[in-house]
Amino acid sequence: MSWLVDPFSTNEFLRQALLASVLVALLCAITGTYVVLRGLSFVGDALAHGVVPGIAAALLIGVSGIFGAAVSAAVMMTGISLITRKSRLSSDTAIGLLFVGMLALGVIITSRSRTFVGDITRILFGELLGVKPSDLWWQFVALVVVGVVAIVAHRPFVLMSIDDGLARTSGFSVPIFHSLMLVLVGITVIASFQSVGTLLVLGMLIAPAASGALIARRVSTMMLVAAAYGVLASYTGLLASYHFNFAAGGSIVFVAVVLFAITALVRSVVVRRAADEIPHQHEHRH
């Protein structure tokens, strides 16, 4: 069994990569469940890629990428709500516009700078194998913040994930809590991209939470399932990166999506069998 443990015990970079991806997995389990239940995947995707110009510009002028990402995310969220409110366009059109606009700006910034150190692929895919302790701290702080918000706003978030009207009749302001949810997505993306890249954030945001939504009924159970799936994907992905020389970030996301596919398959078989059994029992009684 040494091949399961030894890579981690002998390599500090792998332990740090595992710790970083586990933190991202936990962060994404909370945020991702809301994203999946409320159908915010496109906003998540847009935010994950829309932070690229901010990161690029920040690195160019020599400030922390996290600062640039935060500015980008704020610009995007304001832009999306402005376009949606001031025009008759649907929100996915607004999201799409800002998404491509920001990403294009990011490509322009990275392509024309003469001394660009962090190229665009590294922003998109991260440097999971070179995670720094400061990145881990950021992720830990983000996890605490997101966790606290999720506990405090649990009731409105759960009601909103069923139906906006339900939340409204219970006296919660849907626009405010919707914005708060988007802020959580923003925090998750910003805290995670530095180490794992924006692609991995998106994968971890959606795949484990989707698996959780398939199996569990209660929102808190979904989050637990998503966390477990995310951690399993992190470990398995890193192990594959070690033994088969795959790129680390890509392996983790791929495992997370494969886990979802397996879950969906198993579930459909189980459901069909259960459906087959009901009329069977029915017949028996007669």
């Binding site: 890579p7 194998l129 070690y242 680390a248």
Partner: protein
Amino acid sequence: MTKHRTAALAITFALGTLGLSCSSNDSGTTDAATDAANETTAAPTTTAAPAVDLPDVVVTYSVLASVVSELVAGVADVVTIIPDGQDPHEFEPSAKDLETINNAVFVVANGLEFEEGLETPLERLHDDGGPVFFVGEHITVREMSEADDHGHGDETSQKEDDHAHDHGGVDPHLWLSPGTMLEMLPALTAELATALNTNLDAALADVTAELTALDKEIAALFAKLDKCELVTGHDELGYFADRYGCETIGAVIPSSTTTSEASAGELAELKAVIAEHGATVVFTSLGTPQDVAAQVAKETGVELVELSTHVMGGAGSYAEFVRTFATQIADALA
């Protein structure tokens, strides 16, 4: 409806005039504009003499441009496409860059899949009979083979087979050895002389003498070392190592390009190689993932030395460029 028709008419008209103005733009004015725009991106060695309108020789990257400008000094202007400071492996051209390439009297490129973003336009120009010189076609090409593999036997041998394909293909980093540059110089000069319709024999003799002296100087520098084993950012010092009795034993990104990503397995392997060979230095360069290199340094205790291998890095000439990084290597290994 009428509104739409008017709009369509307006667009057609606009496109028409655009087409006219493009075709009426004669090469004289575009050249001047291109020259002005490229002054900022030109190699440091380019002596800007815009008073006389010399023909443009386009060179893809700055290090190669420094050699070409010595050859054509006074006969042609050298325009560099990839700005000195950007990673040539990753460079994506703008529309202006492509125009510059297509309008050039002569284009000198590395080839061997080095300029990844320029590969398609250069090949198209070449296939159309355009004046493109690929340096890679005029040297003894170095294969990226198992010899580069970080051969430490034991149980990892199977793993090495698994990713042997990563190491297949050819090594594009030919400019890092003056010996390789000497090899292609006669062919380049001959084609340049034909394209520019001039005689470059004197320049060829000068540059050849300079590079030969440089080659001897570097060889003498490395003859003093007992052992020269190189761990680099990506597999970039192969031609250099072959020429001066060194051996490349490992790389942070074990690939001929910086656009690849390191895997956990390859990093673990690198650590093993460093320990086994007792390496004390990792030579990083532009495009090396800094955080990953720092982590390797932390875990193995090696020192990181940043070399300028893909850009001039402030050097005024090719000789200075080679001397700078070669001295850094020799000092670090002494």
